[in-house]
């Protein structure tokens, strides 16, 4: 058995065997094989070799067992973590606001409505009805946050944009305040409300 001298055509034979040739190339190779005894014989050898190899008994793979052993995709693993971070941020926001609201409520209960709200959180007086709800002073740490929330309102009634604003404010908070709290001012408020000097 001899080899065809057309090297290019011989190299196409495995591609033809696997049905990967298209269009003009396929036509040329098929036409060549028809007219070339060597390539016809070689193609038959390749076909027989493939058939013998395909007929070999190989253990059938358990696809389900293999798929079950695979690691989870990254997106599925990351989703719970992202949800967890959002939950913690909202919980932190609720706690922060709750503490601020409780402290203000205590002040009002025991010391009456102050003329000027100047406690350390810098929360403004609640606005009269019919007007835009006041927000915290622009220079306060809670700038842009609805007063209804900072004065002890719950988060359950907040709109989505309010929650987003709250989370954004938390992101802007720094661990250490810029300045020491004004204890002298706070002390005057307390002593004034109790009537002490």
């Amino acid at each position: 058995m001899s080899d065809c001298s057309n090297v290019e055509m011989r190299e196409w034979l495995p591609e033809l065997l696997h049905d990967r040739l298209e269009g003009n190339v396929r036509s040329r190779v098929e036409a060549h094989v028809v007219g070339c005894a060597d390539c016809t014989a070689e193609l038959e050898v390749l076909r027989a070799a493939r058939a013998v190899w395909q007929a070999r008994s190989v253990p059938r793979m358990d696809v389900r067992a293999i798929a079950a052993a695979l690691p989870r995709p990254r997106a599925a693993r990351a989703a719970p973590a992202r949800a967890s971070r959002s939950v913690w941020r909202i919980a932190a926001a609720v706690t922060f606001v709750g503490l601020g609201g409780v402290s203000l409520a205590v002040v009002r209960q025991y010391f009456g409505e102050p003329a000027v709200v100047t406690d350390t959180t810098g929360v403004a007086r609640p606005a009269p009805s019919g007007r835009e709800p006041a927000t915290a002073r622009p220079d306060s740490l809670l700038a842009g946050i609805p007063v209804s929330l900072t004065a002890g309102g719950g988060v359950a009634d907040l709109a989505d944009e309010d929650i987003e604003a709250l989370i954004g404010a938390l992101d802007r908070l720094e661990a250490v305040p810029h300045a020491e709290p004004d204890t002298a001012t706070f002390g005057r408020i307390v002593s004034g409300a109790t009537g002490g000097n």
């Binding site: 070689e42 190899w53 007929a55 190989v58 793979m61 052993a69 690691p71 995709p73």
Partner: protein, 184 residues
């Protein structure tokens, strides 16, 4: 030879990989179903007698563990074959240390296949089987990757760890020997 240079990553494999990375675990099952048997057949062609299912499973576990970094320079099947080949080599080293399995020598390729595929009724098929079995391990591996799996020389070189030119030489040497043994 442009038609021989197939797209590096099959469109459907690429789509299934993207879906899996996005969290669709069913895409993984589809990829396994598509490639598990060919990988098993390739592992078998490397002469591994037992533990083929374990090697195949390990292949997929390792592949999916680093699928996010798979660039698609080669086809997915080529990449799986590359991983499987390394695992078979590791398994062979471990078995040699345990002295449980006879070592496959370069000049002893035929004995490995005598005990396999016992029921070949057709004489011509038997002769083909013997002809392939008498190739050297490298020639047999290259020949079967080209003929059975349809890999290009570039892909074969990536799997076997050689050059395209060497893969071409191995293939033609193997083919010549098979022809000689069939038509003696």
């Amino acid at each position: 030879m442009s038609q021989g240079d197939r797209p590096t990553l099959d469109a459907s494999d690429s789509d299934l990989i993207s879906r899996w990375l996005a969290g669709d675990e069913r895409a993984a099952s589809m990829l396994v179903e598509k490639h598990a048997d060919p990988v098993a057949r390739y592992v078998s062609s490397l002469g591994l007698r037992g533990g083929i299912d374990e090697v195949v499973q390990d292949t997929f576990v390792r592949a999916f563990g680093s699928l996010a970094s798979f660039r698609g320079d080669s086809s997915l099947r080529t990449w799986l074959f590359t991983i499987a080949r390394r695992l078979v080599a590791d398994a062979r080293r471990a078995l040699r240390r345990q002295r449980d399995v006879a070592e496959v020598q370069e000049n002893d390729a035929a004995t490995e296949y005598d005990s396999l595929d016992h029921l070949i009724a057709d004489e011509s098929q038997q002769r083909m089987h013997e002809a392939i079995g008498r190739l050297s391990p490298t020639q047999r591996e290259v020949f079967l990757l080209r003929v059975n799996d349809g890999l290009s020389y570039k892909e074969i070189a990536a799997v076997v760890g050689t050059t395209e030119g060497a893969a071409r030489v191995h293939y033609h040497n193997a083919l010549r020997q098979v022809k000689e043994r069939l038509y003696v």
